[in-house]
């Protein structure tokens, strides 16, 4: 897995571990000192992203997914998560 750490401006530290193959997310761990309510949704979010193509993922899709599930994240936003995934993909 490739790790990418990103300190969000006025937010928290995102520590992303991902296996990405030909742009497709094979496995993913979203770690860091952020807050997510409800907390157990972290597993749903990781599962939602696994199997998706990094290049096809967009802000709207991710924001809508969180919104529909009434999830509140404090310390990072969808754009920060996408940035991390793209950084890992670009490093390959």
């Amino acid at each position: 897995m490739i790790q990418f750490d990103y300190k969000v401006k006025n937010g928290k530290l995102l520590r992303i571990l991902a296996d990405i193959d030909s742009g497709k997310i094979i496995s993913l761990k979203i770690r860091g000192d952020f807050f997510m309510h409800p907390e157990d949704f972290i597993y749903d979010l990781e599962s939602f992203l696994v199997g998706k193509s990094v290049l096809d993922l967009d802000l709207k899709t991710l924001d809508e997914y969180l919104h529909q599930n009434k999830v509140e994240v404090i310390g990072f936003s969808s754009i920060d998560l996408l940035y991390c995934l793209n950084q890992i993909n670009d490093s390959l």
Binding site: D5, Y6, K7, K9, N10, G11, K12, L13, R15, K29, I30, R31, G32, D33, F34, F35, M36, H37, P38, E39, I42, E72, I74, G75
Partner: protein, 250 residues
């Protein structure tokens, strides 16, 4: 309102008790404050990787247990600190209708008012920190479950920064962002700002009195933490929190 005066206890027991207090508030609709402390341990946040954040070998050789909180936020080496917990129904007028970020501020402002009346010129740093002279003296974290808000936070009394950061790994990315050369400039204990350093019991009793006075119109009841409540908490939540499968799961 009940204000529990508690002792220094094992970190995993403290986590059990906090979780149990949520159930108590859900059952009684009564606001609960609790002032207590940890025996030396490392607490990590709900979403943190123990391996990434903590020198697990060093902790093991020094007999410092590592405990994962139910709440998010960061890691701390908890030694000489006062911890507070407040647990209240989400429809309590203090926080009703507020966003999570707003409710952090409302509760942290009460702790800051306490610190100021103690003579410590503290201020709020969003999202969840209390600073004095630009250094962190307190981190706070919140969870919500079954219509109840729980917020807990640390108040560092004294910090041995060399020891703290021999247990905690601070990622370069975080240091880079904060524009500091050394982790030593990140945290400080409140005793550094007092003419006469205070012991855990003194700060705890000060805050118990402060909260009683702050909410005097609610006629708060001050109690030593009942052993039975802790025993019940251990029975209810020990299976999860007395197990490294939880604490070291990430």
């Amino acid at each position: 309102m009940i204000v529990y005066r508690d002792v220094k206890d094992r970190g995993d027991i403290n986590i059990c008790v906090d979780e149990f207090l949520i159930d108590e508030v859900n059952r009684t609709n009564e606001v609960i404050w609790r002032f207590y402390g940890p025996k030396p341990c490392v607490y990590i946040g709900r979403f943190q990787s123990a391996e990434m954040e903590v020198d697990l070998e060093k902790c093991k050789s020094d007999n410092i247990p590592v405990f994962r909180r139910a709440t998010g936020g960061g890691a701390v080496y908890a030694n000489n600190e006062l911890t507070y917990t407040v647990c209240l129904p989400l429809d309590n007028p203090l926080i009703a209708g507020l966003s999570i970020g707003e409710s952090y501020k409302v509760i942290i402002d009460i702790i800051i008012a306490g610190l100021r009346s103690l003579g410590v010129n503290a201020s709020f740093k969003p999202i969840n920190d209390i600073l004095v002279d630009g250094k962190k003296v307190s981190g706070n974290a919140q969870t919500r479950k079954n219509g109840v808000l729980l917020q807990h936070g640390t108040l560092l009394l004294d910090v041995d920064v060399d020891l703290m950061f021999s247990y905690l790994k601070v990622p370069d990315e975080k240091l880079k962002y904060k524009y500091v050369q050394s982790v030593k400039s990140l945290v400080v204990g409140i005793n550094s700002f007092l003419d006469k350093p205070l012991k855990f019991e003194e700060v705890r009793d000060f805050f118990v009195d402060f909260i009683v006075n702050y909410f005097k119109s609610d006629n708060p009841l001050v109690l030593d933490m009942p052993k039975q409540l802790k025993d019940n908490a251990k029975v209810e939540y020990g299976k999860r929190y007395f197990d490294n499968a939880w604490h070291l799961k990430f």
